[in-house]
């Protein structure tokens, strides 16, 4: 059955090609409409990084080793999450032209938009790898465990897709979901160990890394990319379960509310 589905997506229909085409155009629209191009994707985490670096390293004097890389990996994961959730709340509105005249599957619109974000993330990850391994003092060293980042990213992708579906479908009924989500994300940001020392985070909020899927992903990403150690598997399993449950809720909402998008928006 899986082989049949794969064949259906690649040879019999143009679904994969369409996802790629839509992602490419979305990516171009976002980054190549201006002079700086892809550098914009890098600029945001770099600016955030310098702010937190000054605040936590220079002023508060944190003793986390390789702090710039520590921040960098946390921020690029966080930014992907933010772009894929906050940035897609109005997706059904902005991409209405794709489904208001035909019976195109709306899920493809989401997946292609997240693909476009993934290209930006991939670019940032490459920059991170170069920075950490060749520029950061006290950093460096490749390991097989680095490959775990693929699993972690898939986890983040599913989680973001699920939340994106939930938010953008609620948007059909409640246009101010944007403001509410802004409050939730700043809460989430400060409850994720983006700039805290892991030990402090774990001792002050014990067990919380199991309650916040983003915290788990960031903790594990640092382990596999910086500490040359395997991820905490229990945490990884927890986060995958979270992501799948959220995705299921998102798909349920898409079928319930999203079906009415053409007449309501």
């Amino acid at each position: 059955m899986a082989a049949n589905t794969l064949k259906d997506w690649t040879i019999r229909t143009n679904k994969l090609e369409r996802l790629w085409l839509l992602a490419k155009i979305e990516f171009k629209l976002r980054y190549y409409e201006n002079k700086l191009g892809l550098l914009w994707a890098l600029l945001k985490p770099l600016m955030d990084m310098s702010i937190y670096y000054v605040a936590f390293k220079v002023i508060l004097g944190t003793d986390i080793p390789a702090f710039a890389s520590y921040l960098f990996i946390g921020l690029i994961l966080w930014n992907f999450f933010l772009e894929s959730t906050s940035g897609t709340i109005q997706l059904l509105n902005t991409k209405k032209y794709l489904y208001e005249y035909s019976n195109m599957n709306k899920l493809e619109i989401y997946v292609s938009t997240l693909f476009a974000n993934s290209i930006g993330f991939l670019f940032n990850l490459v920059i991170f790898i170069i920075f950490f391994n060749f520029l950061e003092a006290g950093g460096g060293g490749f390991s097989f465990h680095n490959l775990w980042v693929i699993a972690l990213f898939i986890n983040l992708f599913i989680l973001s897709l699920g939340i994106s579906l939930i938010l953008s479908n609620i948007y059909i009924l409640a246009k101010d979901i944007n403001q509410i989500w802004m409050v939730v994300t700043s809460f989430l940001f400060f409850l994720s160990p983006v700039f805290y020392k892991l030990e402090v985070f774990q001792s002050k909020l014990p067990g919380f890394q199991y309650g916040n899927p983003l915290a788990g992903i960031i903790i594990n990403a640092r382990r596999v990319m910086m500490d040359k150690s395997p991820p905490i598997f229990r945490l990884l399993a927890f986060d995958f379960v979270y992501a799948f449950i959220i995705l299921l809720v998102g798909i349920f909402l898409l079928n319930k509310l999203g079906a009415k998008a053409a007449e309501k928006l």
């Binding site: 229909t13 143009n14 090609e17 369409r18 085409l21 839509l22 155009i25 629209l29 209405k96 032209y97 794709l98 489904y99 208001e100 005249y101 035909s102 019976n103 195109m104 009924l173 409640a174 246009k175 101010d176 979901i177 509410i180 079906a259 009415k260 053409a262 007449e263």
Partner: protein, 244 residues
């Protein structure tokens, strides 16, 4: 579903709830938790069955506001039905003033995106690309964003994509109102040629000549109800006598 059937709707209906006060934010919903919004019900489509065979050209006639466009959207799978089911065999396209296009994209990008949505592979689009551009007469503006196009250019491009890329099932909603006189002649010529043959088409029109000329069967609607669905001649007669 039988492969010879392109579209089957069973016992479908649609009611719109038009609310007089808009409760579309969380704030409004919370403040008005105990005062339900006043809603007006509009029965747009009363329960009906509808079946279109593959390769058939079906007409849809009725006065303004009788529910033709709503029915088209239900059958195309754009609006969900309240009751019953719609089975669709393939891709659908509603074409009134062309296809849906993004203002932010260039004509070239829109051609590729729309064709892709209609089920064409990139190679297949490459093959018909020139045909689409020439038919729309926009060769020198191909890499211009369509937001800078005049409405006539937009309409021509949309029409050209729809005609050349086409979907499995096409809903043509008053399409002969597109473009200037010269383009209209061209559009009509498309229909005079063999374009329509072999395609599944649902044609909405107020022109009885067009309906008589192309449709084998025709549906006549009145106030959301399907009054008659069968021979074109009889449907047109019913419509004409009803409106005298």
């Amino acid at each position: 579903m039988d492969a010879s059937i392109a579209l089957r709707a069973t016992n479908i209906s649609k009611t719109f709830h038009i609310s007089e006060d808009s409760h579309n934010t969380v704030k409004h919903r919370l403040f008005n938790l105990f005062s339900p919004s006043r809603q007006k019900k509009v029965e747009a489509i009363k329960p009906m069955d509808f079946e279109v065979k593959r390769g058939e050209c079906v007409g849809l006639i009725g006065r303004n506001g009788c529910g033709k466009s709503t029915l088209v959207r239900l059958l195309a799978g754009v609006f969900p039905v309240d009751t019953g089911t719609v089975e669709i065999n393939g891709t659908t396209l509603i074409m009134n003033l062309g296809v849906g296009m993004s203002q932010e994209l260039t004509a070239r990008e829109n051609i590729y995106v729309s064709s892709s949505v209609l089920g064409l592979k990139i190679k297949e689009t490459d093959a018909i690309f020139d045909k689409i551009v020439d038919f729309a007469e926009i060769r020198e503006f191909i890499d211009t964003k369509v937001k800078f196009f005049s409405s006539g250019m937009m309409a021509r491009l949309g029409f050209s994509i729809a005609v050349n890329a086409g979907a499995g099932i096409m809903f043509l909603d008053e399409i002969f109102a597109v473009g200037d006189m010269k383009f209209q002649e061209k559009a009509i010529k498309v229909f005079e040629s063999s374009w329509i043959e072999g395609k599944t088409v649902i044609l909405v029109s107020h022109s009885m000549d067009v309906i008589n000329k192309y449709c084998t069967r025709t549906a006549y609607m009145k106030k959301g109800e399907l009054i008659y669905f069968g021979e074109t001649q009889k449907a047109v007669e019913l419509y004409v006598t009803d409106n005298q």
